[in-house]
Structures are given as C-alpha cells and as structure tokens.
Symmetry: C2
C-alpha cells in the first residue's frame, strides 16, 4: 500500500448492534470493569451468525464498535479519571480521529444471533464492527507500566469510572 493509499478512507459496515440500559453518554460507565451487573446484548445480523460458532466457550469477548455519538476529535483531553490534560491516544476518550471503541465484556451465553453480555459500558444502539475472543495468553499482560493511570487510586477510579450508574438500578432516561 503506497503512501497515497494511506490517505484514502476505509469503509466498514456494522455486523450488528449493541443493546444496553445506557441511553445517556453522561451516565454510562467508562469501562467494563466499572459496569458489573450492566447486562445487555449484541445482536448479530443473520449473514454473520455462523461466525459465532465456538464463541460461547470463551468467558470474555472483545467488542469493537463505532462511537456513533462521539463529538469531533480533540488531540488533548481531560480523561474521566484525572483532571489533567492528556494526549488523546494515552486515553480511552471517544472523541478520536477514528471513533473506534473497544470493550472487553463478559459473555453469559449465546441464543442464536444474540449474545447475552455482562459488564457492558456501551450506549444502546451502538453499531458493532467486530467481535474477537479474549485470549489470556495473548491479552493478559501482567507486567506493565501504565503512565498517568498509575497515578489514579483504585478506589477513586472505581467511583469516577461508574459515573451515573448505580449497580442494580436502571439509569435515569433523558436527552443528552
């Protein structure tokens, strides 16, 4: 692929849709680890259903999706977990040049084209682009440095990360 081709856009088409209790970006937990008890589904379009075979052997899956309600990209952002300006790519903020979201969620069970999920931090109606299995031998890296995230206390992260969501209660509905 030449440098010229790298300026061309790449088109994807949703393979399904994510259904969740989260209807307001302001009340949606920022990560699956702060969304325990948030159940929902990924509904896969019929033509891709065969590709879900064998997935239910995995306890966790990666959802790759389009942040369909994200605003314009900003290169410096104030992350939810810390009140300092940080480079966008050192954060998970949705306002990215390509607003691609990634969530590692718990797969409860599969029912035909529907995946029943827990720990869901995704807005209702989000277009799903891909699903990958979470494979510990690839994805669980135990020795890491995590930059500014290492400065954030775990209890504080938990409090801020849940945002408006209270376990066991549906969030308030509202425009946003």
């Amino acid at each position: 692929m030449s440098t010229a081709d790298l300026k061309q856009s790449i088109s994807y088409t949703p393979i399904g849709v994510i259904r969740s209790i989260h209807v307001s970006p302001e009340q949606t937990p920022i990560q699956p680890v702060y969304s325990c008890g948030c159940r929902g589904t990924a509904e896969i379009f019929e033509q891709y259903c065969e590709g879900l075979s064998d997935l239910d052997g995995f306890s966790h899956i990666m959802l790759i999706y389009h942040f369909h309600r994200a605003g314009p990209a900003q290169m410096m952002v104030r992350p939810f977990l810390q009140d300092k300006l940080r480079g966008l790519f050192s954060t998970r903020a949705p306002i990215r040049p390509n607003p691609i979201g990634l969530s590692i969620v718990r797969l409860l069970f599969r029912e035909g084209p529907v995946l029943h999920l827990d720990c869901l931090d995704v807005l209702d109606g989000t277009p799903l682009l891909d699903i990958k299995p979470y494979v510990s031998r690839f994805d669980c890296i135990r020795e890491t440095r995590c930059g500014w995230q290492d400065e954030v206390d775990e209890n504080e992260a938990q409090r801020l990360g849940m945002r408006g969501y209270l376990p066991g209660s549906a969030p308030k509905k509202g425009r946003s």
Copy 2:
C-alpha cells in the same frame, strides 16, 4: 441510531502507518506474544502528533489497524493454532467482515511522530486506525475460560504462532 442507519457504511481514515520487517503474510507471527524481538514503528501523521503526549508512560499499547491484505470474509475458518473449523468470531483470523486488527505491542520509546515498538506481528505498510493505552486495570483479566484456545498446548502454540519468523533473523522477502 435507527436500524436503517446500521446498514450504512462507516468511513475511517488512517492516522498513520505501521512499519515492520514482515513483508509476507505467511511468515508473519500471528500474535505479539510470538513476535518478541520483532521491532518496528508506527509513524503517525503530523496532524495527530499532539495526541501522542503522555503515551510514553505506558509500557504497552494497543494498535488498531486495517488488515489491508486480507481476503474475503469467511464465517468458518481453520485457525493457525488448531486444525479444526471454528467460527470466525472465536478466532483472530484476518478474513473478517470488517478486517480490523488488534495488537497489544510493547512501546519502547517515542521520537516525535514515530513510536518505536517491539513484539510487532503486523505487516509492513499496514494502515493504522487508532492507538489506545494498555491499562492493566481494564485489560488484564485473570480469570477466564478461553474455549478452543484452552485445548492448545502452550509450547505448540508458541511453535505454530511464530510461523516463518525466527528471532534474530530477518524473514525471507518474497511475493505473497
């Protein structure tokens, strides 16, 4: 977003390009864990460079990219690590409806718009779509079931996963 909108395509534009020693798909390791010693770079286009601030505090980053040489999607595939047909979404095979790749690589250091990387399992010239920091508290899940992957012996996975790559040697160049 209505159901009708979910059928519309979504366009992304590369934020940069991945440079690696891998020029042949057949000799490219299948995952970063089988690519230790494979160094390379991610070169970010100028307008996104500010967004790289603070990234060098992280030892590992996620590259999200376009499998630009993937063939047409297949719903059942024979994964590299096991000689059985498996549902596509339970594998990391590149022949996906939306050929989006994800690699968790080691960030060695940053030099302006260039990220120097290790454990790179990505083909040279691959268009980069997004970068996210690897955050242990979000991404390292210790208690998992990993379906058919749990049937694959670790030594066998290491042998098969490296494919044509031999640590310390550049792979053979060739058309593919």
